[in-house]
């Protein structure tokens, strides 16, 4: 009994010496913004979660960079950031990487980036029985890699992308000169859609870029007759 009590006393002693409550506050600042097309002044059209990432890194030489994913509409938001100075950069998207921004984050801080996308796609949609006809042009304001592929996709929610679709029409463009592609108005007909259902359609186009990313047209909502 005596032995036990001595040990218990020792134990209590050690515990009290060790216990220090972590009373630092959690991350309470946020960073948000948009990645904006320099010609249209609208956020870029992309996909989520693989459209682009935001790299955020504390503004000192010994920091570990962390990435978070941007949204399909070209915006991004991270609501769990400690207040402080950061280097911020959108990366791995279908656009020329812009310059790093140094941002003082406190409260909710907004930072926008203006970028030049590899390609722009403007599309219009006309429904037909059991399908949809997409007419579109591919353009660009600065040349990067060869234009490799165009792809019209349809899906039953607005998550539609190059990998998420119910039906698609893909055309390999690798053998066609870029000048000809940029001069052409393309027409693709997506078939096999269910009548009476709502679909979201868009067109993707891809250059030969090291991250294999697509540029997109805006999403068009249709109801198939």
């Amino acid at each position: 009994m005596k032995i036990v009590s001595i040990y218990s006393l020792l134990f209590v002693f050690f515990l009290s010496a060790c216990s220090k409550i972590d009373n630092y506050s959690g991350p309470n600042a946020a960073i948000k913004g948009s990645v904006i097309d320099n010609l249209t002044n609208k956020p870029i059209q992309t996909e989520a979660p693989n459209g682009f990432f935001i790299r955020i890194e504390e503004n000192h030489s010994n920091a570990t960079p962390r990435n978070f994913s941007g949204k399909a509409d070209g915006t991004f938001q991270n609501t769990a950031v400690f207040a402080g100075s950061y280097k911020v950069l959108p990366i791995n998207g279908a656009f020329f990487t812009p310059d790093t921004a140094i941002v003082n984050v406190s409260g909710v801080t907004t930072v926008d980036f203006t970028v030049t996308p590899f390609l722009r796609v403007d599309a219009t949609a006309t429904t037909v029985s059991g399908g949809v006809v997409l007419k579109y042009k591919i353009s660009r304001s600065a040349a990067s890699g060869k234009i490799m592929e165009r792809k019209a996709v349809a899906f039953q929610s607005d998550k539609v992308s190059s990998t998420v679709f119910n039906a698609q029409v893909t055309t390999n463009l690798s053998a066609i000169p870029d000048e000809d592609i940029l001069d052409t108005e393309f027409t693709d007909t997506i078939t096999g859609l269910e009548s009476g259902k709502t679909y979201y359609v868009r067109v993707a186009a891809k250059t030969n870029n090291s991250n294999n990313k697509y540029n997109y047209s805006e999403i068009i909502q249709i109801t198939v007759p």
Binding site: I3, I6, Y7, L10, N50, F53, N62, A63, T64, P65, N67, N92, S162, T163, V164, F165, Q168, N208, N209, S210, N211, N212, K213
Partner: protein, 585 residues
């Protein structure tokens, strides 16, 4: 009170401990003891061999090496899907095949260091050093094919308390890592003996790994993109250089005439089946042996056809896809599409269902159990249902009967939880001499072949094709095709597609295809919201014959482009801030 005294004594004893801790523990062998005794060195070496990243029967996706489980590499690359409702809804997020292992690199570096210092004969030291160089190259190849460029560590690192900075090494470029592998293998080639037992490496094993690794480097240079300043990707201008290294290494093995293709049986299908089961086999260059009960594996337990599975359960886990089955040509060399319908689109009625596969490449029957093929003397009855006039009868249970006939057979499509998804089962490496009643996890002793002459010929053919030497490519492919019993190709037939198809069918389920579609950079096109296909055999009662339908099964797979490189575990980056993450993670 004695306790209290002891407690007080403890802090005192800490201060005087220093000398005590310098005493060597008596239950752990010290380096001086190990590296002065030949048998102890061989035991150390055995551990280095054991840690080779060989993706054999016990390599399980998401679990790693030497594990039990049901998700195999074939289920990620379109060769097959998992049978249990194909319950994975993804083919990975960049962590499923990860293997970042600097522990084993340290072990082999330490081995080299100690052998160098030891007092064994020069000849003995050279042989061990050759094995160690091979092993280190194999470790690095296991990592570079996953992550791209990784830090090259050639020496044992020691932490002295204040040198953390110098131990943190940035990633080398992918090209530098492949060059390092080539140079280690060149040294291994000059040091290793001409022959060895199959479980140990010799000169030609080093050539074999070199031909495989350099083929990877060449393809990545030709088909990949350079990113992160070369940390991933290899400049396109270097493609020919690496293909030439691969070609030369394969040629050294072929010209040595030390190995020959397995050709013991007149029956081509039996011959190709036994190639993987017969340990007395002149084609084998390097194998991983198993011996139950000391060390077995579970290939048979996992993959027996349902009707003949072990009383312990499981079975039929890997279901080959119709896409893979149709990759096998016909014997006359014509394209391998199965003849399911006649000219006007009506299903062809087969009185003998095996006639659907008549005249296919004999490697099909040797690698895959097709519906109604033989397993241990019994036809594997795979039905999707029975057609009785206007009625089509299907069932969710292997036990249901219709007019005296089992609706889906004992191994068919649609039964219970454990369904056959595609109608096909694996035959390669399955050992028919095992009585199913004795099969359980870890009971199989079949050897796993890491290198065989067949792969060397395929490496040679692919490197030759990439270098524009089509006659050499045709020669090598025809060695394999004539052994298999398929019509030869002429020089003019050689295309990337032919070379790759031959590799796919010859080496199905040999754990290369997954890496092949990665290095060819075709995986994202192959699996873009893609479902694979099942063959559905129905018995037509009136016609007393079988018809075959097809159906899309399993989840739709998408291979995202970032999966060409694995994600580096953020915990590793936290330890070494000089590491940079791969793109898109």
């Amino acid at each position: 009170m004695p306790v209290l005294v002891l407690t007080l004594a403890l802090p005192l004893s800490f201060t005087s401990c220093k000398k005590v801790l310098d005493v060597q523990p008596e239950n752990i062998l010290q380096d001086e003891t190990v590296f002065s005794d030949e048998s102890a060195v061989n035991i150390y070496l055995a551990t280095l061999y054991y840690d080779l990243p060989i993706e054999d029967f016990t390599y399980i996706v998401q679990n790693g090496f030497d594990k039990s489980g049901t998700c195999f590499l074939e289920q990620l690359d379109g060769e097959a899907i998992l049978n249990i409702a194909d319950d994975k809804n993804s083919i990975g997020d960049g962590t499923w095949v990860s293997w970042w292992n600097y522990t084993v690199v340290r072990n082999v570096n330490h081995f080299m260091d100690q052998i160098e210092k030891s007092s064994f004969s020069e000849q003995q030291k050279n042989e061990w050093m050759g094995e160690a160089k091979y092993i280190r190259a194999h470790y690095y190849f296991g990592m570079v094919k996953r992550y791209g460029g990784i830090p090259i560590v050639k020496e044992v690192q020691n932490y002295t308390g204040d040198n953390l900075e110098e131990l943190q090494i940035p990633r080398n470029t992918e090209k530098e890592v492949y060059d390092f592998i080539a140079s280690d293998l060149d040294e291994a080639i000059s040091l290793l003996p001409e022959t060895s037992i199959k479980e140990k490496v010799n000169k030609y094993t080093a050539y074999a790994l070199k031909s495989r690794a350099m083929l990877f480097a060449g393809s990545i240079a030709r088909y990949g993109n350079v990113n992160l300043n070369g940390v991933v990707g290899i400049p396109a201008a270097d493609a020919d250089h690496y293909f030439q290294l691969s070609y030369d290494a394969a040629k050294a093995i072929i010209d040595s005439h030390k190995y020959s293709l397995y050709n013991k049986e007149a029956d081509k299908e039996l011959n190709f089946t036994n190639l993987f089961l017969d340990p007395d086999n002149p084609e084998l260059i390097f194998v991983k042996s198993y011996h139950f009960p000391e060390k077995g594996h579970s290939w048979d337990y996992r993959n027996l056809p349902f009707g003949q599975r072990s009383p312990e359960g499981s079975g039929g886990r890997i279901n080959p896809t119709l896409e893979l089955v149709e990759t096998y040509d016909y014997k006359d060399g014509s394209q391998g599409k199965l003849k399911l319908t006649d000219g006007s689109g009506n299903p062809i009625k087969y009185a003998n269902p095996l006639d659907l596969f008549r005249d296919k490449d004999p490697r099909l029957g040797a690698s895959i159990i097709v519906p109604f093929a033989d397993w241990r003397g019994t036809a594997v009855d795979v039905r999707a249902g029975i057609i009785d006039g206007a009625n089509t009868v299907t069932s969710g249970s292997f036990d249901d009967e219709y007019k005296g006939m089992k609706v889906i057979g004992s191994s068919g499509i649609g039964g219970s939880n454990e369904v056959s998804q595609t109608g096909f089962y694996v035959r390669k490496y399955m050992n028919p001499s095992y009585d199913p009643a004795t099969i359980d996890t870890w009971t199989s002793s079949t050897q796993y072949i890491e290198f065989r002459l067949g792969e060397i010929l395929l490496n040679y053919a692919e490197a030759a094709f990439e270098l524009g030497e089509n006659p050499d490519a045709a020669w090598a492919l025809n060695q394999l095709r004539s052994r298999a019993g398929v019509a030869s190709l002429s020089d003019g037939d050689i295309t990337a597609g032919k070379v790759r198809n031959e590799r796919t069918v010859e080496m199905a389920f040999e754990r290369q295809h997954y890496w092949d579609i990665r290095r060819w950079r075709i995986a994202d096109g192959l699996m873009n919201n893609t479902q694979f296909t099942a063959l559905m055999p129905y018995y037509d009662m009136q016609a007393n014959a079988y018809i075959f339908k097809i159906a899309k099964v399993g989840y739709a797979r998408t291979f995202l482009p970032q999966l060409y490189y694995e994600r580096i575990d953020p915990a590793e980056i936290a330890k070494d801030s000089k590491l940079i993450q791969n793109p898109n993670y």
